[in-house]
Amino acid sequence: MRGKIITLAVVALALVAAGCGRSSSDSGSGSSSPGITSKQVTLGGSYPFSGPASAYRTIAEGAKAYFDQVNAKGGVNGRKIKFVTLDDAYEPPRAVQNARKLIQQDKVFALFNTLGTANNVAIMKSVNQQKVPQLFVATGGSIFGSNVKQFPYTTGWQPDYVTEAKVYVDYLKKQKPNAKVAVLYQNDAFGKDLLAGFQNAAKGSNIKVIAKQSYEATDPTISSQMAKLKSSGADTFLDITTPKFSAQAIVAVAKLGWHPLHILNNVGASKALVLKPAGLKNAQGIVSTTYYKDPEDPKWANDAAMKDYKSGLKKSSPKADPNDPFHVYGWGAAETMTDALKRMKKPTRASLMEAVRSTNEKVAILLPGIDVKLDGTSDGFPIEAMQIQKFQGQSWKLQGQVVQAPH
């Protein structure tokens, strides 16, 4: 029996050692919100550093590089930006726990750029209840811009998937008005959003979706889906996938000897992480969209923003590949975040949201002609323009003009 008492004592001691007493600060909030002082502002994000979508981890690196550069120049209004990131392996339950940890334990001022449609949907309700800003989420889910009144603390950043789908339909109407389309899509909010956007935009035209196949983000391969899509006889392949599956789809199209017009969605269109592993010869002629400058495009070699980005990234993470477009993405989103912090009048979350909702800026790393603009409750979509790009030879080549596709 004494054995049990000893066991209990040891465990109780370990427990006490594990945590510190509950502080009283979390009840009295006072004039400023948590996570912000005159010297520092803490932001937090949840990213897939592991798991099937781990290609996106470099977005966090890009964002951190921008914040590092801001901090080196003295911060925003005297505040250094601290960016805390956690791994969720692209799984919604872990994103929920991460958001909880970031808000309650790391006491972040705002969540910034958390990645994944499903992951952001999973935390959206609770962070809005807690009035914690969930800013510039790394997903094009249209739900993050269409519901400003219900979710005033949440905003997207990149063009949403409905906008992107409109740009593809616009392209097909001109290039292939009688397209028979086979679709591969990720079976979650992201995939369904882009697919629905495409079908809506194609209504009333001769563009027909004749086959659809879905996969789960946790699936190991998509080969059986690809074989079915090929046998549908479609001449156009709409590829709504995240990087791992984008690469698999490109390889599968080549192996099956299928020669459709291959439209690859923006979130899978990384040369460094998708096309190269799949083999550049298999990637010729793929059509996609973009809205920021491609670090490999010689056109931007002397561009000031591009130079700034490359030197900033090198300083922050010397081993990072500057040609990985996801770094550029993170860099750009961080610029919008910094702009909002700069315009914030009071150190409160409510004041930050006011600044965010009146965003109207030119992010230098975006393509010329593309603005980042929000307008109160009437416009919840920051970026609503894209340009078609085609993969030719060794790199993406911009096609035509920037297409403005506002809601």
């Binding site: 029996m1 004494r2 054995g3 049990k4 008492i5 000893i6 066991t7 209990l8 040891v10 465990v11 109780a12 427990l15 594990a18 945590g19 007493g21 509950r22 502080s23 979390d26 550093f49 592991s50 791994d87 799984e91 919604p92 339950p93 872990r94 929920v96 726990q97 909880r100 940890k101 309650q104 334990q105 499903a118 949907v121 999973a122 309700k125 609770s126 079976n187 979650d188 909010a189 789960e216 983000a217 946790t218």
Partner: protein, 335 residues
């Protein structure tokens, strides 16, 4: 002091520590403690099956998921008061466990392990398959219980105490079960099935019921998980959960009621600490700690006190054979 008194004093002290805990920690930590309680109920249920009855299940994550989704769907879609969803989750999982317990009668050891493992593997797939009901990959957000006004508790403290109360009831029930006549038949089957039969125990009946009760415990744990996390998705209930529950028994101590709490603490906190050591090597560090545990404390945490006492009493230069002794003490457990 008589043994009984010591036992009661220990229990009261443990309960007091458990009740006071949420007043000393941050909300996030309390949330983790609530999760530990939820897991401990599942571990306890699995221990009834594995530790006391000698059957095995690698698929209790399935029943955990069943309970969680039962509770989540009832709260989110039918607006059922959340306390009522606890027995509902328990009953649904109990029924599923009963149905599954029948074929389990014909299998033992490795074969039963394999069949139950398949349950764990299909759980996330089934949830995705019935997407119209379960919201599929997207998952289901559930409003968490909120503390009634005027009692001076924050939500995290309230949820913790609620979970603690339900867990305490489940522990009491399990303790009563293993102490009585039923408990003796359960263990008799584990120790020697033939002699148990000879003594007039209805093997099939006891085994299927233990399986069902054990699944029911996992179901209740699932409902508690929903209260604590407020969100369910297929990826919440992967094979890792099932294996984690089994690992928790090993860590806590086979055939020990109190060991369930230690096991649950282990599966909640060790992966977090392992992640702090190295984010890329979380699984590796966790596995290494688990293996180290089996070497150092083969009887589980429940035997820690006994072990310390024995080391203190051990006369110098005498070769005891700890592993053998350990195993027998673990078997004796709380009988």
């Amino acid at each position: 002091m008589s043994e009984r008194r010591v036992r009661i004093a220990t229990l009261v002290a443990a309960l007091a520590v458990a009740i006071l805990l949420p007043f000393f920690f941050e909300p996030f930590r309390n949330n983790q403690f609530s999760l530990v309680l939820a897991y401990s109920v599942a571990v306890l249920g699995l221990n009834l099956l594995v530790g006391y009855n000698g059957q095995i299940s690698l698929g209790h994550g399935f029943f955990f998921a069943l309970g969680a989704y039962t509770s989540a769907l009832l709260i989110a879609k039918e607006s059922v008061p959340y306390l009522l969803t606890v027995p509902a989750a328990g009953v649904v999982a109990f029924a599923a466990g009963f149905v599954f317990g029948v074929p389990a009668l014909r299998l033992r050891g490795l074969y039963l392990a394999l069949v139950t493992l398949s349950l764990a593997v299909v759980a996330p797939q089934l949830i995705k398959r019935w997407g119209s009901l379960t919201e599929g990959t997207q998952g289901l957000t559930v409003n968490q219980p909120t503390a009634p006004g005027g009692i001076g508790l924050a939500n995290d403290q309230y949820i913790y105490l609620l979970t603690l109360a339900i867990a305490a009831v489940m522990f009491l029930l399990a303790w009563n079960l293993v102490r009585g006549q039923t408990g003796r038949s359960i263990m008799a089957i584990r120790d020697n099935e033939i002699s148990a039969k000879a003594m007039g125990i209805n093997i099939a009946r006891v085994k299927t019921r233990v399986f069902a009760v054990s699944a029911g415990y996992a179901g209740v744990a699932g409902a508690l998980y929903v209260f604590t996390v407020g969100f369910v998705a297929p990826e919440s209930f992967t094979v890792t959960l099932s294996l984690g529950l089994l690992a928790a028994i090993v860590v806590g101590g086979l055939g020990s009621v109190t060991g369930a709490v230690f096991g649950a603490l282990f599966i909640e906190f060790v992966p977090v600490w392992a992640g702090d050591v190295n984010q890329a090597l979380t699984g590796f560090v966790y596995g290494a700690v688990l293996i180290a545990f089996m070497f150092v404390l083969p009887g589980g945490m429940a035997s820690l006190g006994k072990r310390i006492k024995r080391i203190r009493k051990r006369p110098a230069k005498q070769d005891t054979r700890p592993e053998r002794t350990e195993r027998t003490t673990a078997r004796e457990g709380l009988t």
